[in-house]
């Protein structure tokens, strides 16, 4: 009896309702991910190609001196593992935002946006869900890497988790921010070229920055300014049970800025406005 009667007065939403909503969004994202086996396989193959082929080939070329957080000489494979973990998240972040553009064009996004909960919260849930999916991928990669003799300390698998969540959120909200500026799905290939590749290569993922500095000071500054570098370093240190405070500060700040930007910039009428009423009705 009470359910209808109380609806008349504004009653807001309880904490349990927020959590149910969050749980539902993460659950659905997980289901969709599991249904897309190719996506999982390609998400794993990409870093493994780097690990098995690229790193093996470069092992002899690039000598790595002892730099923190490492305490001994390490193989090149060990060096690039954190970079590849961040790469998984970078691709996943962009892919999630790609699927948001797709959802928006296909109409699925409407299901999410007509939820009565605040829109900012819904988008935040979407980001968390994307991050959760990236965690599955990263841990699957770590398992294979472990078989390949990349063996961080056992507690590292746990200490890296918060770092991965933060970097996943940062890269996810960057993707969302970019997707809000994309009018159509077809423009996404450009994002790959102009965002993913420069971010990945101009970072400490593949080579330590002191090496870069020897080659080109300008590139070094560029790498230092690249948030992706800090995501990589945050993960690298966390994997060895340490905190890189500068990277933590940079990643945390970027996460907040990107997320607020993405939520503010996310305009569902974009795409719909141009395609919906014009293309959908006529």
């Amino acid at each position: 009896m009470s359910s209808i009667a109380t609806r008349e007065a504004p009653r807001g939403f309880s904490f349990a309702e927020y959590m149910t909503c969050l749980g539902g969004i993460v659950w659905r994202e997980g289901l969709r991910f599991l249904h897309q086996r190719e996506r999982f396989v390609s998400a794993l193959v990409r870093p493994l190609v780097w690990l098995f082929i690229f790193a093996a080939g470069f092992r002899q070329v690039l000598g790595i001196s002892i730099i923190p957080p490492y305490e001994t000489y390490i193989l090149y494979e060990v060096y690039i593992a954190p970079g590849l973990m961040a790469m998984i998240q970078l691709f996943n972040g962009m892919q999630s935002s790609l699927s948001m553009v797709y959802d928006r064009e296909m109409g699925n996004m409407r299901t999410l946006l007509v939820s009565p909960l605040p829109r900012g919260f819904l988008l935040f849930c979407k980001l968390l869900a994307g991050t959760a999916v990236s965690l599955l991928q990263v841990y699957a990669f770590l398992l294979i890497a472990w078989l390949w003799d990349i063996t961080p300390p056992p507690q590292g698998y746990l200490t890296v988790l918060p770092a991965l969540i933060l970097s996943g959120l940062m890269l996810g909200s960057l993707g969302m921010l970019i997707s809000s500026g994309i009018k159509q799905l077809e423009n996404f290939a450009g994002v790959m070229n102009f965002v993913i590749f420069p971010m990945f290569f101009a970072s400490s993922a593949l080579y330590p920055l002191w090496r870069v500095q020897e080659g080109s000071p300008y590139l070094y500054y560029l790498c230092e300014a690249n948030p992706f570098t800090h995501a990589v370093e945050l993960i690298r240190f966390a994997l060895y049970g340490q905190v890189n405070w500068i990277s933590l500060a940079v990643v945390a700040t970027c996460t907040i800025v990107f997320m607020i930007g993405a939520i503010l910039a996310y305009d569902p009428s974009r795409g719909l406005a141009r395609r919906g009423p014009a293309g959908g009705e006529a």
């Binding site: 009896m1 359910s3 209808i4 009667a5 609806r7 008349e8 504004p10 009653r11 807001g12 939403f13 309880s14 349990a16 309702e17 927020y18 149910t20 909503c21 749980g23 539902g24 969004i25 659950w27 659905r28 289901l31 969709r32 249904h35 296909m106 109409g107 699925n108 409407r110 299901t111 999410l112 946006l113 007509v114 939820s115 009565p116 909960l117 605040p118 829109r119 819904l122 569902p268 009428s269 719909l272 406005a273 141009r274 919906g276 009423p277 014009a278 959908g280 009705e281 006529a282």
Partner: protein, 268 residues
């Protein structure tokens, strides 16, 4: 658990406490896409337990109006209220009372029927146990209980529409919007959906706004809103609209109301 109760309640409430508050009120709403004006000073209302048909040709502005009511677009001018809750000022309270079936399909094709329903329930903050109970009940009501675990992809167009309507009812809204829900369906599926929705109006007291360009979906007792090129040309019970236009049927009435304006452009 209390499955029969909400129906009884819903029948009572519109007649008692909230009789004066329309299920949906559109007040002087205008909208433009850049220079193109899609809606001009549109006003009308939908009463609880009524079937209101929003009749207009393609491009009349029906989908724009739906996007405004559901808060997909920001409202540029005017006011939209759902049971008195302003969509711009308190969207949460307004959307909670609203169920929508959009014109494009918005189901997850790779998920099962139940999974689609549970996802929707979660978006409305409905806990898992309650959501499962309601899903089972609604799937039974639309005759798809045995397909609960199938993927939506394997359903026919009519079944998908029925599922979308069931989904829109999952959080027990008191206003239901349907944007050309019968487009692309065969005669049987169309008839099924129309009678199902009309049943919701009479049995559960839900206010329905049904956008269409098909005259034969409207009955004499229905409220009618004629939308043409972004403007409301006529509104009221269908019989009155026809009489005022000096016509015999809704088809002629519509042509009289819009005819002069459509002639030069050759349709919308």
């Amino acid at each position: 658990m209390t499955s029969p109760a909400p129906i009884a309640e819903a029948q009572e409430t519109p007649r008692t406490g909230t009789a004066a508050v329309p299920a949906l009120s559109i007040d002087g709403v205008s909208h433009s896409y850049g220079p193109r004006r899609a809606l001009m000073d549109v006003s009308f209302s939908v009463q609880p337990a009524s079937f209101t048909a929003l009749l207009g040709l393609n491009g009349a502005g029906k989908s724009t109006l739906f996007s405004l009511i559901t808060r997909l677009f920001g409202i540029q001018s005017g006011r939209v209220g759902i049971f008195g809750h302003d969509v711009s000022k308190s969207p949460g309270e307004a959307l909670r009372l609203l169920g929508v079936v959009f014109q494009p399909r918005t189901l997850d094709l790779d998920l099962s029927l139940t999974q689609n329903l549970l996802y929707h329930a979660a978006l409305h903050g409905i806990g898992r146990r309650e959501a499962s109970a309601r899903s089972t009940e609604l799937l039974g009501r639309i005759g798809l209980a045995d397909r609960a675990a199938s993927k939506v992809r394997d359903l026919s167009g009519g079944q998908m529409r029925r599922l979308e309507i069931a989904r829109a009812l999952l959080h027990r809204p008191r206003l239901l919007l349907l944007d050309e829900p019968t487009v692309g369906l065969d005669v049987k599926a169309r008839a099924d959906i129309i009678s199902h929705v009309r049943q919701l109006v009479t049995e559960q007291g839900i206010g329905v706004l049904w956008a269409t360009h098909l005259f034969d979906e409207i009955l004499a007792d229905d409220d009618l809103v004629v939308l043409h090129q972004g403007k409301v040309l006529a509104q009221g019970p269908m019989s009155r609209v026809i009489a005022e236009a000096g016509a015999q049927d809704v088809n002629t009435a519509f042509m009289r109301l819009t005819g002069a304006k459509t002639m030069p452009g050759g349709g919308a």
